[in-house]
Amino acid sequence: MSTDSDGGRGLDELLESELRRRLGGLDGPSPGVGGAAYRTVTTARGKKMPILSSLATAASSKAAVGLATAALVVGGGSVAAAAATNSTNPAVWGRTVTAAVASCKSKLGDGQHGIGQCVSAAARKKGEEERAAHAASEAREDAGTPTPRTGGSASHPTPPAHPGGRPTGVPVGPPATLPPAAGGGGHPSPPVVPPTPHNP
């Protein structure tokens, strides 16, 4: 492939002719607007989101609904509350879950019982709203637009400060009893030796 003696114009013409010849007629396998990926993003009208984070998946499972209900009964349940509200801040769980309980109770008719599913759905919705806000923030950064760092607005709430340390109610350390070792050919577990007390 040769270039003209004046270099510049020859290469420009070569680029234009080659690019137009090879790409000018390309239309790509594009689906119509209806099949575009962005069409499945949640809108204000509440369509489904294509992105299923592990938290959203857990929150939508029956086990998570049961956990959230049990957490409310027990009055603690930080793990379920964190999963449902997508926040490790106990202050957030308290507000979200308390508001959801009050709302769901008010919707119960005479003789009706059970607010577990209602509360779980409210907490899940709150979590999805938070995730959408975070996703929009990440998308703005990809577009080269800095994420606003000034105080939150109605549409872009500032997330609450996360406390340090482990949420309450989550067990620390290994379980008290270990399951028995699997059958004969495996390696035997070493005996558990208690730590030597330290005498200063």
Binding site: T3, G24, L26, V33, A44, G144
Partner: protein
């Protein structure tokens, strides 16, 4: 500065319909792979949809979309390069042969275009395929116009060097015969 766009709606759908093919062609030239170009274009529109409320109307919509798409393609190229290194390290050998559908993307110039750094390749495609001015390229790449001019100049210098025809061998004197005798 123009106010930000409102929530995406029919305007975004129209933008998709009118700009999709141009974005696809840009990314196909940068990536040399139709499937990858399609994935990256869809990903770019998804990001643009989410970031739509933050788009300032003083930047042309297509240039703004190109910026997102080019960044997406550059990230893809980077990950692809890491994957190739991994394959070589694991001695998996070179990748399986090209998709015949990518025939249009073969050829010396297209190959050398893909070897250029992402933003240089993008600048060349925007100029010579889409006819963007330096100002429009600057908007698409999110860079000053002076940087765009430098990128174009560097990219063309590299292409000229890589695509130049090699010097004729000594045994071939046909070129010498064409030189008129000195009087």
């Amino acid at each position: 500065m123009q106010p930000a766009a409102g929530p995406p709606g029919e305007e975004f759908d129209r933008l998709y319909e009118t700009t999709y093919h141009r974005l696809f062609r840009t990314l196909a030239a940068m990536l040399g792979d139709f499937a990858a170009a399609e994935d990256c274009v869809q990903d770019a529109f998804l990001k643009a949809f989410r970031a739509w409320p933050s788009w300032r109307r003083d930047v042309p919509a297509e240039a703004w979309l190109h910026r997102i798409a080019i960044n997406t393609a550059i990230s893809y190229r980077r990950k692809q390069a890491l994957r190739e290194v991994g394959r070589l390290v694991l001695r998996l050998g070179p990748p399986v042969g090209d998709d015949p559908a990518d025939q249009a993307l073969r050829g010396d110039l297209m190959r050398e275009l893909r070897r250029l750094p992402g933003r240089q390749a993008a600048a060349l495609v925007l100029r010579h395929l889409h006819g963007y001015t330096n100002r429009e390229i600057a908007a698409a790449l999110g860079e000053p116009e002076s940087t765009v001019a430098t990128r174009l100049m560097t990219a063309k210098r590299t292409l000229r060097a890589r695509l130049a025809v090699p010097a004729a061998p000594i045994s071939d004197t046909s070129a010498l015969r064409r030189v008129p005798p000195v009087e």
